[in-house]
């Protein structure tokens, strides 16, 4: 059996890559993609624990499905917002979209 650590490391790597993308990227589409990666890293964690610690119940798996559904919806919404931003300002750079400040 594959040790549980391998899956957890995979989840952590995915989460970290996603976080790097969110923090470092300036393009809104890439930031959104980073968020997706973070979500999937978390999903892997859920499924891993579900499979190893509590195989009879499917709680963790159902959570993962929920995460996927929410991620899909969020991607659709996020992309729509980015589209409006680009239409209005001819840019998808998040640094330039800073009207909501003090």
């Amino acid at each position: 059996m594959i040790p549980i650590n391998d899956f957890l490391v995979l989840g952590t790597i995915l989460f970290s890559i996603g976080m790097y993308g969110v923090l470092a990227r300036r393009n809104a589409v890439l930031v959104l993609m980073g968020v997706e990666l973070m979500l999937q890293g978390v999903s892997i964690n859920f499924i891993t624990f579900a499979a190893y610690l509590d195989p009879t119940n499917a709680t963790g798996v159902i959570f993962a499905i929920f995460v996927i559904v929410v991620a899909a919806a969020e991607a659709g919404l996020g992309l729509a917002i980015i589209l409006r931003l680009f239409r209005n300002r001819q840019t998808a750079n998040v640094d330039e979209a800073d009207l909501m400040k003090w």
């Binding site: 976080m19 969110v22 930031v31 800073d98 909501m100 400040k101």
Partner: protein, 633 residues
Amino acid sequence: MGMEQAWLLPAIPLAAFVFLLIAGPWLPRRGDWVAIAAIGASFILFFPILLDLQDAVKHTEGFVGGGKSWDWISYEGFNIKLGFFVDQITIVMLIVVSSVALLVQIYSVAYMRGDARYGWYFTVMCLFVASMLTLVLADNLLLMYAAWEGVGFCSFLLIGFWWERRSAAEAAKKAFITTRIGDVGFLIGIILLYREAGTFNIQEIIHFAQAGGYSSTYLAIAVLFLFMGAVGKSGQFPLHVWLPDAMEGPTPVSALIHAATMVVAGVYMVARMLPLFEEAPAVVLDIVTILGLITVWLSATMGLAATDIKRVIAYSTLNSLGLMFVALGSHSVTAAMLYLFVHGFFKAMLFLGSGAVIHATEKQDVSELGSLRDKMPITSLTFALGAGAMIGIIPLSGFWAKDEVLVSTHHAQNIFCYIALLASLAVTGVYMTRLYVLTFLSTPKDHHVYDHAHEAEPLMSVPLIILAIPTLIGGLFVFHFFGKALGFPGGFTEFVYSVEPEKFKFHVDVAVLSTALAGGGLILAYYLWEVRPALVDRIRTTFKPIAILLERRYFIDDFYQFIINRVILGLSAVIAWFDRTVVNDTGVDGTAGLGWFAGRELRLTETGKLPNYALAIAGGVVVIAILFLVLEV
């Protein structure tokens, strides 16, 4: 209709007050007839109650009064009842209040004619009469206190009736605040009595005390607080300063409120609670006597120097109130109530007489009046009767009452007290005669005033004549045959008493002494001011410091003003500073400033840049994770 329906007496003027308050301005004659009709109804309804009481006294052994009470608050064993109570003391007060109020109202129609607030005057008078009758009829201290404050409030409104005049506004304020000092004591006394007895009902409290429910020190403190209320309301030393200033109000107000009714409320209250005072250590009644005696002497001597006609009568009122308290201090409800009864009529008559003078001459300083006897014969005659009663000339009503006070003092007090009281009669004789001589005899000092003076119109002179009747024949009430003929068990002393009825006895020694002193004062004053006026000025120059002391009212008012200016305003300034800098600037503004400052600084973190927010979230998570690791929660 009987004692159980006694609540109607205050209810009718109260209804008239509410009606006048709403509809007054649209009524013909501004509704003065409503007020007079309401008070007249109360006066008429007094008689069925009197008959019922006479009947009850006749047929009940050991009658202690009747009435009716209702539940006010009733909640799981906590029960407060309010009600009305009629006994012999109440009846004496009721007849004084209702009859003098009616006469004063009729007089006021003429006196107040043409005043800008004519309707308002009658409206407030209705409220006053309602409050006063409630005070008299209340069977418990709570209702009595409410009415007590009610009459004080009406007194404030009526003293300051002409509030455009600064002195009137100030006098109203002074009266209100001074009596309020006493009222606070009264309230504390009521609370102290209630705390142990668990009831506000006066009769129950008295029974509780007589059963030994209070410890003697506790009772002494409680009744002294009660007495404080009486001191304020009845103008006893050291709270007497408001009454002379209260003369700023219209003269009928002075006659009703500051002579016949409200100021004797303190006497009435002490008379009603006298069993409590007697249960307490003897020192309590000694304090009552001493304050009464001080008031008698202070007011009588200040009356010698006052030149305002109404002020002199105000001092004579203080003098009379002091006498009543000396009587109460001598355990004699009978003497105090007899004096209260006759005083109500002759003092109201004196005030109404001075009102007639003021109305006719528009002057109230005796240095501008004089020789008015020829111009105002009726006023002059009734005024002479009132002054005579005040001095205690036989056979006027004041003589009998004052002698009763003297006899009770002679029985209950030491010889010094008795002599002091006797000696004050001479001073009373001097200043009342001086007032009469300077106003109605001697020579006219201001010829313009003299030429324009005229007799009062019938609406004013008829009440004067009616008031002269009880002044003339009031003394008859002490005799057995007269009381019997009117349906009472006997004379006044057999009807109103605290322990047991006593047949009236004429004490020749007291009568001779008092008549000699009062008559001596009268003759001396007549000689000084009528025959040898020049001598007065010489006496004044010789004893200048004393004259100044009297004219400045023993500097008591100045002393109080000094205390107010230095101590009270000084303390207030400190408190104001504390309030402004500590409470307001630091406490209130500081808290607001902190929020404002924090908001101003923290808003800079809102950069609007997405990566900053993302970093804050990620960093926050890391920090929380580290914290959890370190703290090992």
